[in-house]
Subunit: 157 residues, 2 copies
DNA sequence: AAGACATGAAACTTTGATTGTTGCGTGACA
DNA sequence: TGTCACGCAACAATCAAAGTTTCATGTCTT
């Protein structure tokens, strides 16, 4: 059930930039997340504005982390990709003149707002570095499995 | 920020069916929520399957509540409209072969799943009757304001 | 200075899910 | 028998994210 992929994708990229490449062009990044360079620039522009990455033009240019993953929270990334609406549902756009609808909307929005605040609070307490460590645990798990079984599981992209 | 409106709309309708009309045709309901009869039938079919409303064909037919609003929770309605995805974002559809992406997806999905469970738990503890009472408080507020100012604020739809 | 490389930015197309629409079939009541 | 109302299927409209194309700008190398 694919929806807005920007946050997931940007987290993916940030970890690669920290653990694997240090600097990468939009094209290289595009291959990491199986899309194209323009989409990458569009998303990364938000990260640059928030001081999470920097970009350089010309030969040897590309994208680079501007600060360590320990100082980037999931909330930072969420805001950097434009604070898209968290929920997939809600009420009509214009305020209703029907009082029943007003009551329903108010209650629903209040409930969602509360849930949103809780989720963002959680996001603000998770550093991207934590996800990078999740990855390394997975990597070590695969490596040790390889040593035992001599199978050829390899890391890709 | 309009997204999936089904839950909001169905709550609206259920309260009208309890407080105002008792039985209504798809066309009448369509006017309440400013859409057309087919859309109404599509959404209400889910409510009927869950035993929340009943429908009758022919003369004098239409839709009717099958049980009191005190016995219908927001969660019931959410499930009746098909359990649409709660969140507006997520990860790629197919499981990744990149370990970094796997780690990001796993963490993100776990966080969202937790938030989803909390929200549904809250939904299951709110009866539609509560929203109906929210409405009546609003209604009384307007009535008393009318008595004081002789203005002509009227309830619509 | 020329050319290749890489980002910046604008305009357009594609995609996917909800919503909206049309048409026809079926059951029920007068 | 005719009207009313739901049931159902197929199709069009809508909207945002994602994808694409094109051109401009800046930078490094030769």
């Amino acid at each position: 059930m694919p929806r807005d992929l920007r946050m997931s994708r940007m987290l993916h990229v940030l970890i690669h930039l920290d653990r694997h490449v240090e600097r990468a062009t939009s094209d290289q990044i595009a291959k990491m997340i199986t899309t194209n360079a323009v989409v990458v620039r569009r998303m990364m522009a938000g990260l640059r504005e928030r001081g999470i990455v920097t970009s350089e033009k010309g030969h040897g240019g590309g994208w680079q982390l501007a600060r360590p993953l320990t100082e980037i929270s999931l909330c930072d990334v969420y805001e950097a990709v434009g604070r898209p609406p968290l929920f997939n549902f809600g009420s009509e756009a214009e305020p209703a003149n029907c009082l029943v609808e007003q009551a329903v909307d108010a209650r629903l929005e209040a409930t969602l707002l509360e849930a949103e605040e809780r989720l963002l609070e959680q996001f603000s307490q998770i550093a991207v570095e934590e996800l990078a460590q999740d990855f390394e645990r997975r990597f070590e798990g695969i490596r040790s499995a390889e040593r035992q079984s001599c199978s050829t599981i390899s890391e890709k992209s």
